[in-house]
Amino acid sequence: MADTKEILERIDKVLIDNKRTENIYLVLTIVLFLCGIACIIYALVVGKLAWSTPSAVTTGFLYFPLKEIKSLRNKNVALATAPIIITQLPPDKAAEEIQKLLEHIYSDKDAK
């Protein structure tokens, strides 16, 4: 078993990667949102309601990045708790808790 320092380093690295991915999603979400707003403003200025259709579509697309951001935050919480679980609990209990974490985060993605 790797020592605590090594575990922490690996967790920190993954946390940084997750943060970077989260930022990319946030930027893309904002861009998508701004596109929608721009279309609505244009529809109002021009007076053609047809121009509000793209904004409705882009608003719908916001669902996917927001879902990913939520999932990433859940993963980060799991990663942040992992060192405490490993260092504070006996190995059998720690394994049980980490497996429960894994099943909780990925239950809707991977069938058991």
């Binding site: 993954v14 799991a78 990663l79 490993i86 049980e96 429960k100 894994l102 991977d110």
Partner: protein, 254 residues
């Protein structure tokens, strides 16, 4: 494990694997019932206590978890994968794990049809999950067929899960007609009547209520495969509508 790009998952699985490896040390004592690989790796105790850390049925233990490298339930480990050198699921494996009951060799657990004295892994897992007491009663003179092959009528999901016995006795614990049992209650995860569960939801591929599934539960009539339990009208072979299952049970005198 399918998502190779997910670093969080990979890291947590590695940590879990390390924790299980730390626990998985040889623990053979005389008179025990256990499964052991031919490389000497202990693969879990055969016990009814699913909370025992060494138990093969403890899904959070080093021998029952699907994430542990020393578990036959891990489809990627060398003891559970299709290609593992000591795996129960490798059809070409010549050194499969050994089942020992009360200190006596009973059989090999293997998918390799050319191995003598072998037990099919699916039957073994089904028995371990549903009838472990029967397994513990095996002695040198016991006929394997009586333990590992069910002679009764039952349904089984395509992922191997036992989904209940087809019997008109509504008080039998395993009956799908027992509204308070594991296989008949609408709240049980192993019931086809739980419309939110994996085996009863109209959206789950393993459910008989999914009209489009190609992997619905299988029906075994007196130990022999009969057909599928499904709402999918386009599936070939014998099929039974899950809404008519009660009548079907009575018609067949089960």
């Amino acid at each position: 494990m399918p998502n190779k790009g997910d670093k969080t998952k990979r890291l947590l699985e590695q940590l879990l694997g390390n924790l299980y490896n730390e626990q998985a040390k040889q623990k053979v004592t005389q008179g025990d019932s256990f499964l052991i690989a031919q490389d000497g790796q202990y693969l879990g105790k055969i016990t009814t206590n699913r909370y025992d850390n060494d138990s093969i049925i403890n899904r959070y233990g080093p021998y029952g978890s699907r994430f542990s490298a020393t578990s036959i339930f891990n489809k990627f480990s060398q003891y559970g994968s299709r290609y593992g050198s000591y795996s129960i699921n490798n059809p070409y494996c010549t050194q499969p794990p050994t089942l020992v009951i009360k200190g006596k060799f009973i059989a090999y657990i293997s998918n390799n049809r050319f191995i003598k004295e072998r037990i099919n892994p699916e039957d073994f897992i089904l028995t371990v999950e549903n009838n472990i007491n029967e397994l513990l009663r095996i002695s040198g003179g016991t006929k394997m067929e009586s333990v590992f092959v069910r002679k009764d009528s039952y349904i089984q999901a395509q992922d191997g899960a036992f989904l209940g016995k087809l019997t008109s006795d509504e008080y039998e614990t395993e009956s799908i007609l027992n509204k308070y049992g594991n296989y008949g209650s609408e709240y049980s995860t192993t019931s086809i009547f739980n419309s939110y569960g994996s085996y009863g939801s109209p959206y789950s591929s393993y459910s008989p209520y999914n009209e489009f599934t190609s992997v619905p539960p299988k029906i075994f009539l007196k130990g022999t495969f009969w057909g599928h339990l499904t709402k999918n009208q386009y599936l070939s072979g014998n099929k039974l509508d899950p809404d008519s299952i009660k009548n079907w049970i009575y018609e067949n005198g089960l």
